[in-house]
Subunit: 358 residues, 2 copies
């Protein structure tokens, strides 16, 4: 056993008085409490709390403050986040429910930008995995961490009652970014239908009449693919164009199968959900001898760099995402003025970018 | 003002007894406490705690339990996660420090798989943003949430003292996955040098002698790119091959500039950091009239689907990542037996996959 799980030598723990009621005789080292710190420093628990939470309302001498800090350091005592934030009247935690599906490059970049922007405003971002919880359970689990703000990015089913639970637990800002408004929350509405509508209008304007719309088979993407398909259908309504859904998994084999039977479908264009699926399908079509764009026009969405690297260069739908910085500033504004009227923004701007594939 | 920030009508709050010491007269609705629940249900605070934490050690009648739950529901009371976990003796929270850079597709998929696997073992995953905190501050901030396990995936500078702080706060498992071991933690060592070494050996074996190695200019990637470059250098040592670092930003313009001056460098091969940079550089080389692989061989790494969609098909280094399921099981094993000897695994298996670009 060459392992030294506790490499830094530590002083023996102080004897525990009977009043603390915590056994320290077990072989496992107990978690130190503020009572232990108080005992070692020779002060009250209240004093420990005042010092470690930097409360300025109470006058405590610098030597006492130092003694408390040293005792805490010696014992390895760390205050509880939730208890501390309650005493201080607020926390600086912004809670984000974690995405349930692997995040794409666009969202990953946005999330990173958001975290930096919130950090600059002195907030800490905590992403909370809410897999397997329904809306109400999730809201309750988030509330337990006493976040000052909750920023739900579309996937979690935050209900009006969930918003209520969060506000009652002290959250000053509850902001949702998703396909629908949520009552009681500041809702930024991103209408995915507009993405599909844009793609379909682009193809129809260029004379296409039989338009396939790729619908990813990967679970979790329905909240994007469903509205995008609907948006394409609406755009086609009354134009004489028809829309055909094309289920597709993100793998070479299914793409090759779809491409092999392509001519039987008689499609002259396809909106391929996003640029990554478009790259997959375009390769399969080219390998099957289908000429892009002459035989079939292809358009993706997201305007990723990879689309510009393809030949023919991929047409795409560019999506206006709210910037991380903008969103961080909104969080901060609502935290400072939680009783202001919820702002409502319709966020989804989208435009088709014509390159060579359509 | 058509907004109704609290849409569900709620009963008036009960009068607050003087002993609670909390003012409820402010216009802002106060956060309900367990004392409020106790008062409304006509029980002690201890009973509230026992009921809401599902403590089975204490016998409490079902009608009383129901009364407490109804009072909590009526007031919108949610217990504190940290306080609750301390009373229960453990939490089910696994804390992951958040990545500081936008995550790539490989890592995003891994993270998703890990979360599902932990969820199946009844853990909750919380990703904690540690931007702007140094190693010790970060460990202290994590400890405040009282996680039962901390899983540091390489980027956070977890020190032996940080491990100690976490264990003292009650974390049963501290597991690191990164380039180096951390004393006191269960360290899964991923040696990125092996990735670069694999790529360079592949090129050298195929007769290449002047090998460029792409080093991304994006901040945060040094922890991967540095060791990969070093691994390539080691592989070349003594073989007569030379290694030339090629700084590159992930944009078309810099790639075009690099490609325009390509022939002056006299390189006959390039390891392009990963498949995405390889796609970028290969396109730029082809646009500049450099034949791949005849004039210059190209290899990436990560074995992404997109590499198989390119023409020529991209050679790559496939990296053995620990699976999310394996890692979740390790977390659970260590939580159950925290005093076991830290397991040490050397994880980074890597192998070159030859396709058409090299």
């Amino acid at each position: 056993m060459s392992e030294t799980p506790h490499p830094s030598p530590r002083p023996p723990r102080p004897a525990t008085g009977s009043s603390a009621g915590r056994a320290v005789r077990s072989a496992e080292r107990p978690v130190p409490t503020s009572a232990d710190v108080a005992r070692l420093a020779g002060v009250s628990r209240a004093t420990v709390s005042y010092v470690l939470n930097n409360t300025s309302a109470v006058r405590i001498s610098e030597p006492t403050r130092r003694r408390v800090r040293e005792a805490a350091e010696e014992l390895g005592y760390v205050p509880h986040a939730a208890a501390r934030s309650l005493r201080a009247g607020h926390s600086r935690m912004v809670l984000l429910p974690t995405s349930r599906v692997p995040v794409g490059p666009l969202y990953s970049r946005f999330l990173n930008e958001l975290q930096w922007a919130l950090r600059r405003l002195d907030y800490t971002v905590v992403q909370y995995g809410s897999l397997g919880l329904d809306g109400e359970e999730a809201a309750r689990a988030w509330a337990e961490l006493r976040p000052v703000a909750v920023l739900s990015l579309g996937e979690a089913d935050l209900t009006p009652h969930g918003v209520e639970v969060l506000k009652r637990s002290g959250a000053k800002a509850v902001i949702t970014l998703g396909p629908q408004r949520v009552e009681g929350a500041h809702s930024l509405v991103m209408d995915q239908r507009e993405v599909g509508g844009c793609a379909a209008r682009h193809l129809i304007e260029r004379g296409q009449r039989r338009i396939g719309v790729v619908v990813p088979e990967e679970p979790g993407l329905e909240m994007f693919s469903g509205p995008r398909l609907e948006g394409a259908r609406r755009a086609a309504a009354g134009t004489g164009a028809v829309i055909e859904p094309l289920p597709l998994a993100y793998e070479e084999e299914p793409a090759a199968r779809l491409a092999a039977a392509w001519r039987e479908r008689g499609l002259d264009a396809v909106y391929a959900y996003n640029d990554e699926y478009a790259m997959l399908l375009m390769r399969a079509l080219q390998d099957a001898g289908v000429d892009v764009p002459c035989e079939t026009a292809v358009i993706g969405s997201d305007d990723l760099l990879l689309g510009r690297l393809l030949r023919p260069r991929l047409s795409t739908v560019q999506i206006d995402l709210v910037t991380g910085r903008h969103l961080a500033e909104l969080v901060d504004r609502v935290v400072r003025d939680p009783d202001g009227t919820p702002e409502r923004h319709d966020l989804m701007g989208a435009r088709a970018i014509h390159r060579e594939s359509s």
